[in-house]
Subunit: 266 residues, 2 copies
């Protein structure tokens, strides 16, 4: 694809969605490690991005390395990390009540924010929580009724696993929306532009020098378009060839469509 | 109120919402026992109705008796019981997966329906479940993705307790709606007419001979209006005097407003 080659020439930062692009569950995508090496070889910075806030950055670093992809925490961005940064930027003294996984809790701690119970919370942060209980929902409701700001790490309805689809952070957010009568004050993850803007700031990159590679039109491409990035869709995840044809002509149609991440080797 | 006296003359069945009308939490309403005795003395049948499916009918019988109100299971209707009846009426062999409290499980058993895991379920029934876990939501999603019919015992967003508002069945239903992308195929509890129609059938009563007394316009009065009952609003629960004025002229404005259940002694 000479057009893609041409377009990539102006790009200095590549944001790679992980699940469905670099790997599927625990299985690395064919050629993904080579594609990352090629991009780096052509002088681009590569950052690995996930909407999921369950696991800490160190988890993704280990996972990528196990697939032959060199990565450090400085190359990995999670929605939990961006949620913590968002709160810290507004109030470094903020007291935070978390409904979420260990990765989200770790990010709140690393941002030196104070973890508290629902009564004291200035912020309620909600991500995927596989240890969710009714009591946690009740605590979340209490925090919201007491006026805590409502932050969702990501809006994902489901996420795919080897055992099939599991409820995503969006399902937990929906329960809290329904009982509190409130919507999140901010959603961090894609398709929200928040997480993309964070990456641009973190790497000092301009939108027109940045590309995002993802497997979903409604999250990855949409988020990229909102901020003005070059958008590249791969067909190894959620979106299949037939879905692409349906999306043609819509405003979230990607700039380029490649079969897999390997397609960026141009 | 001579008009209320006149209207009640044609009524043979009175449906009383419980929480906010007969009691508030564990506290009986002043005059409630006397009002029930008066209605019965004037030859009317009284049935106690709750949208909540958490507890079995026997729980409400004990609760009412402890407040000096004679009741048997034949006078108490819960949304769990009506959900079980609804399924049984469609398929007496139905296999049911329950997310809900002990009362709902008991009603499914009493209707001789088969309780099964999510993979086998013809029906997913969802009510308030204070033992809710992430795993139960994941199981509910699995049942819905496998095509199980989706039944909500009631749509209540919250319910009041001595310790404040807790998430209602509606919050759990919302989580499952978001992750499955499906809405319930049927909602049993008020403001749905399902539960009211069940009461009418169970007592062989016609709508124009039946009154409903409740503390909420958006559930009790709305459900009553949908089926053509006489609707009486009390001000001892959710709706206060100032809310009544706002609702004046709307299609769900109650036929009568009384300060408390005692107001039916006319």
């Amino acid at each position: 694809m000479p057009e893609l080659k041409q377009a990539l020439r102006n790009i200095s930062l590549i944001i790679l969605d992980m699940d469905g692009v670099v790997y599927l569950g625990n299985k690395p995508m064919e050629g993904a490690a080579r594609a990352v090496a090629f991009l780096r070889g052509s002088g681009k910075k590569v950052v690995f991005l996930t909407n999921n806030s369950e696991s800490p950055r160190s988890f993704y670093v280990r996972k990528l390395r196990s697939m032959g992809i060199a990565a450090g925490e400085e190359n990995v961005i999670t929605s939990g990390q961006v949620a913590a940064d968002y709160i810290r930027g507004r109030d470094p003294q903020a007291k935070v009540f978390v409904i979420g996984g260990p990765g989200l809790v770790e990010e709140i701690r690393r941002a030196a924010l104070k973890l508290v119970g629902p009564e004291e919370a200035d912020y309620l942060v909600v991500g995927i929580d596989r240890e969710l209980t009714y009591q946690k929902l009740a605590d979340g409701l209490r925090a919201l009724l007491a006026g805590a700001k409502f932050i969702a790490t990501n809006p994902d309805r489901v996420y795919p696993t080897e055992k099939g689809l599991l409820p995503g952070a969006g399902a937990i957010v929906a329960a809290l929306e329904r009982c509190s009568g409130r919507k999140p004050d901010v959603v961090i993850g894609k398709p929200s532009p928040q997480i993309i803007r964070f990456v641009l700031r973190a790497f000092g990159a301009k939108p027109k020098e940045t590309a995002i590679v993802g497997d979903q039109i409604e999250t990855d491409v949409k988020a990229g378009k909102r901020v003005g990035l070059l958008t590249i869709l791969v067909l190894t995840g959620v979106v299949k060839k037939e879905d692409v044809e349906k999306a043609r002509g819509t405003k979230n149609f990607p700039d380029f469509v490649v079969d897999s991440l390997e397609g960026v080797i141009v």
